[in-house]
């Protein structure tokens, strides 16, 4: 310690979150008795402007050179208090956060006295630690002002266009031969009967013609090393590899449809198809002739296999039900050049492209397109039913479509997961056995086609991207954003962003908005031109290091390499300060800045003293 520590302790009530359980005034009085503590107080909300100004004012008035805040979690609040210290002229590393909410009041809600004692002990540990802290300097690292966007669906294209329009060069890498992603499967988008392919084309044109966008089709990003502002990536185009440098990475790799193997007669009966297969048929004007069809919602989702609701399927069903109800003769090819064809037989076979698509799935058995019987029934109307659990028509447009669809006499039949409809086959028809809740009886419905609304599922190789970029996947294999509420398109890792269905089901406008949002976030370091990494990094004492290489193996961020002298060296900007190397070094040659052995031991000693009285 180069100077006498003058410690200030700020204990937060957090409304009643802490104050309702921990006796805060008592804790403040106790803190005043601790060595080097020259000031202690409490705030109702230390994070509120009055709390922050009390920190700033007391630093100046009491000439504090160390600050301890005992409050909630450093995860959300440390940066705020650190910058408050800085505003008062105190190096932000001379600050320690003591968590007396999550780690005390919340878990000991019913044991008020013990919680108060524990809060005292935690603060004692914090004070013991803060005395030994050293100021740290922060470095600025230049940013390469360009971006790579992985995935050329609507989210990725929106991100690329926006970044390019904000003035930054973008590499857009798409592994298919065409841009457009999942939306290319769709017949119509929204309820206005705009053809998806047509609507996409203007977006695709903008991508292709933009002078700031370099498009890599039929390509993949196969390697990425580095850190925010300085990534070295490798783009593989058909085996030809190209190295490149970018400042930021946007992940927009999309999702796939769930294949409902073994559910509701899928792959058992020809005219049982998925919603995406229905879209493809509608797009290619290859829907078979029908007089009745039923949609079944939540197939494989909401607990049947996947746990989640896929958000979009109800609205895709509504859109199709609505289009069919309004326009079925045209969609089914029964209306040609204004002339209504009165008697066209119902087709029972699924068209060749769907059969082809199913055959194309890896590891699947081949199947024939089915027999092409000519049936006798001429459709004079189309009966549409939607078996559902809840119709998820949130917002304005979806709900209005739902209402209109009901007016069109589309039947909505509710089922529960305990009582799912069953599909069988009888003569020419598919049969749905279902429980009618209002009638309280088992009923049967005969239909020509059943469309299964299956969820979007994560790309199976999302795992590889997750490993390559060291970004997390959440439940069910979708990418996990930094915070579900307030950081929806950031990863916890700086410099990498996420948008579109690779982080969870979203419809087109949502995916586009997320793409632009990711572009906004990603453009921040590019526009600033530099980043300032934390200085809580590892430091190698080269006199002690034997060059064994253990730390190089163990570092999860590839931040350590052997230098010319044969000893370990840390890439400061890539180091996240995780401490793995420090713990594993057999020679104790690695020191963790801000978490030195001395500092940790002082805390431990304080804890033990407290326990022993």
């Amino acid at each position: 310690m180069s100077e006498d520590a003058r410690v200030g302790v700020f204990v937060c009530h957090c409304g009643t979150n802490i104050g309702g359980c921990v006796d805060v005034p008592k804790v403040v009085e106790y803190a005043k008795t601790l060595p080097h503590v020259v000031f202690a107080t409490s705030n109702l909300y230390t994070c509120a402007e009055d709390g922050l100004s009390s920190i700033r004012d007391s630093i100046k008035e009491n000439n504090l050179n160390r600050v301890v805040v005992a409050a909630c979690t450093p995860r959300t609040h440390a940066p705020l208090f650190q910058s408050t210290c800085e505003e008062a002229g105190l190096n932000k590393y001379l600050f320690t956060f003591v968590n007396i909410r999550e780690q005390c009041s919340w878990v000991h809600m019913k044991e008020k006295d013990s919680a108060t004692e524990k809060a005292k002990e935690l603060i004692k540990m914090g004070v013991a630690r803060v005395e030994l802290l050293e100021p740290q300097e922060e470095v600025q690292i230049e940013v390469i002002p360009s971006a790579v966007v992985i995935g050329g669906g609507v989210a990725g294209m929106a991100a690329a266009i926006s970044l390019a329009d904000q003035g930054f060069p973008v590499r857009l890498v798409e592994r298919e031969k065409e841009l457009g992603g999942f939306v290319r499967n769709l017949g119509y988008i929204w309820q206005e009967r705009r053809e998806a392919v047509g609507a996409l084309s203007s977006m695709i044109r903008r991508v292709k013609n933009h002078r700031n966008i370099n498009l890599y089709l039929d390509s993949e990003v196969v390697a990425a090393e580095g850190f925010i502002g300085n990534y070295e990536i490798v783009i593989d185009t058909h085996g030809e590899q190209k190295k490149d440098k970018v400042g930021v990475i946007v992940v927009a790799t999309g999702a796939l449809e769930y294949i409902p193997e073994g559910l509701y007669g899928y792959e058992q009966y020809d005219n049982v198809i998925t919603l995406t297969e229905f879209e493809i048929l509608a797009k290619n004007k290859k829907l078979p002739k029908l007089s009745s069809l039923a949609f079944i919602q939540c197939v494989g989702s909401r607990g049947q296999d996947k746990s989640y609701c896929s958000r979009i399927c109800c609205n895709v069903t509504l859109k199709n039900a609505m289009n069919l109800a309004d326009n079925w003769k045209n969609m089914l090819g029964l209306e040609e050049a204004g002339k209504v064809v009165e008697s066209i037989p119902v087709e029972k076979a699924i068209p060749a492209e769907i059969a082809e698509r199913r055959r194309g799935r890896m590891g699947r058995r081949d199947r024939e397109a089915g027999e092409k019987d000519e049936a006798e029934v001429a459709p004079t109307r189309l009966d549409i039913a939607v078996f559902n659990r809840d119709i998820m028509s949130y917002g304005i447009e979806h709900e209005l479509t739902y209402n209109k669809t009901k007016e069109k006499k589309v039947r909505f039949i509710r089922y529960t997961p305990q009582n799912r409809p069953k599909v069988s086959h009888e003569g020419d028809k598919l049969v749905i056995d279902y429980w009618h809740d209002t009638m309280q009886m088992q009923m049967k419905m005969m239909v020509d086609m059943i469309v299964l609304a299956t969820p979007l599922v994560a790309q199976p190789d999302a795992k590889e991207i997750s490993r390559m970029l060291k970004v997390p996947l959440g439940q069910e294999g979708f990418f996990l954003e930094a915070h579900v509420k307030l950081r929806p398109v950031d990863f916890a890792t700086d410099g990498i962003y996420v948008c579109g269905t690779c982080k969870g089901p979203a419809d087109i406008p949502e995916a586009v908005a997320q793409g632009m949002a990711a572009a906004s976030r990603a453009a921040i370091p590019l526009a600033r031109g530099y980043v300032q990494p934390e200085s809580l990094v590892a430091f190698v004492d080269s006199d002690v290091c034997s060059g064994c290489g253990t730390c190089i193996e163990i570092c999860p961020y590839n931040a350590i390499r052997k230098n010319a002298e044969g000893v370990a060296e840390i890439t400061v900007a890539a180091c996240k300060g995780c401490g793995n190397c420090g713990a594993s070094c057999p020679k104790n040659a690695i020191i963790m800045n801000h978490y030195t052995d001395n500092q940790i031991l002082a805390e431990a000693r304080a804890a033990l003293q407290a326990v022993n009285g």
Partner: protein, 449 residues
Amino acid sequence: MEKSTLATRTGRRIESENSVLVIGGGIAGIQAALDLADKGVIVHLVEKEPSLGGRMAQLDKTFPTNDCSICILAPKMADCYGHPNINVLTYSQVIGLEGSKGSFNVRVLKKARYVDENKCTGCGECLDKCPTRNINNKWEQGLATRRAIYIPFMQAVPRAAIIDPENCRFLLEGKCGVCKKVCKREAVDYEMKDAVLEFEVGAVVVATGFDVWDPTSSVEYGYGKNANVFTAMEYERLINAAGPTHGHIKRRSDEAEPKKVAFIQCVGSRNVQTGHPYCCSVCCMHSTKEAMLASEHVEGIKCTIFYKDMRACAKGFDEYVERAKKDYGVEYINSDATVHGQTDGGNPLVSFDIVGKSQTREFDMVVLATTLIPSSKNVELAKTLGVELDPFGFFKVRDHVFDPVDSTREGVYLAGYCSGPVDIPESVAMGSAAAAKAMEDLMERKVFA
């Protein structure tokens, strides 16, 4: 009214071609402002209320993680107010927008607060001394009162007092002056006048949020007649530690703790008669959260949610509802529900249908998931901004599908609930998206200038 030229609080010089106007200081506007300011753009953030925070500041916790709402929002409010590139204008409204994309002239009315927000430390001494009490505290949904000089709420940013001129004795009658006497910082200024500020910006982001539908006019829910029928927004304040009851759920009639609470969904929404046929997108989830939280406040409380469709349709939402059922014993009944009278003890009677049979059940308290509707200020603001509204009164989006944040006027972008129902993460994403569009406009001007 005085005219004044503009200088930011931090005294930074303002380059009009590199600045953006953000209207609305809720989470969407805050996000847009921070994204732009972090890129070096000067942002003028205009908020009509005396504090930043918007609706999110009023909520207790957020679904599906049950994170404390103000705890995650407060740091962003503070970041925004303290950002060297953001000029926060609270208690202000935009009254004029001329020009076009890349070069707009903005006029803002900054209403007199009668307290200098740069001098006021928010110590609260004046609040205790003000003799004019018992004024309806709208921020607390009328569940608490305030004085004529007040701080909007505990975590308000800026944390500065404001005088309500409709109730202040000095401003009305020239008598009193207590707050000025007790203020050691000499921050109270009865002579303060409304001021009109004029400045130029390259783009505009509108993020003005929503209003909550008032169920008083509707006979079927008993709101206003039965004391123990609450709106969801009132309930949010009831369960909040900083709220009027310090987090204790109390009935209005007798302050007793309820043991059986009914939550009724789609109140005023999905209803053609009210003029709000749409779904407000968030009520299923906030009611689920509110029912879960009830059991953290009152041991053994029994909650029942009456719903039309349980729209738990985003990441982790359906799982959250399952958790409410399994871990918190929340009962979900798929039925419309109405409040038909009450018992002698003031218990609301809720009528609903199960399998076509009508039933009535007694509850201690009813919470109405009242729908969220376009702000009543939208008509005037749309006129000022020269943009169109949709048939319901939300700001009209130019192309729902591919330009989800574009308004009908070039250079004016939309974020959050002002253009239709969205939840918090969508509002944040739209805030960022609108910021991206604004940035594109500034860059376009730079390139071609």
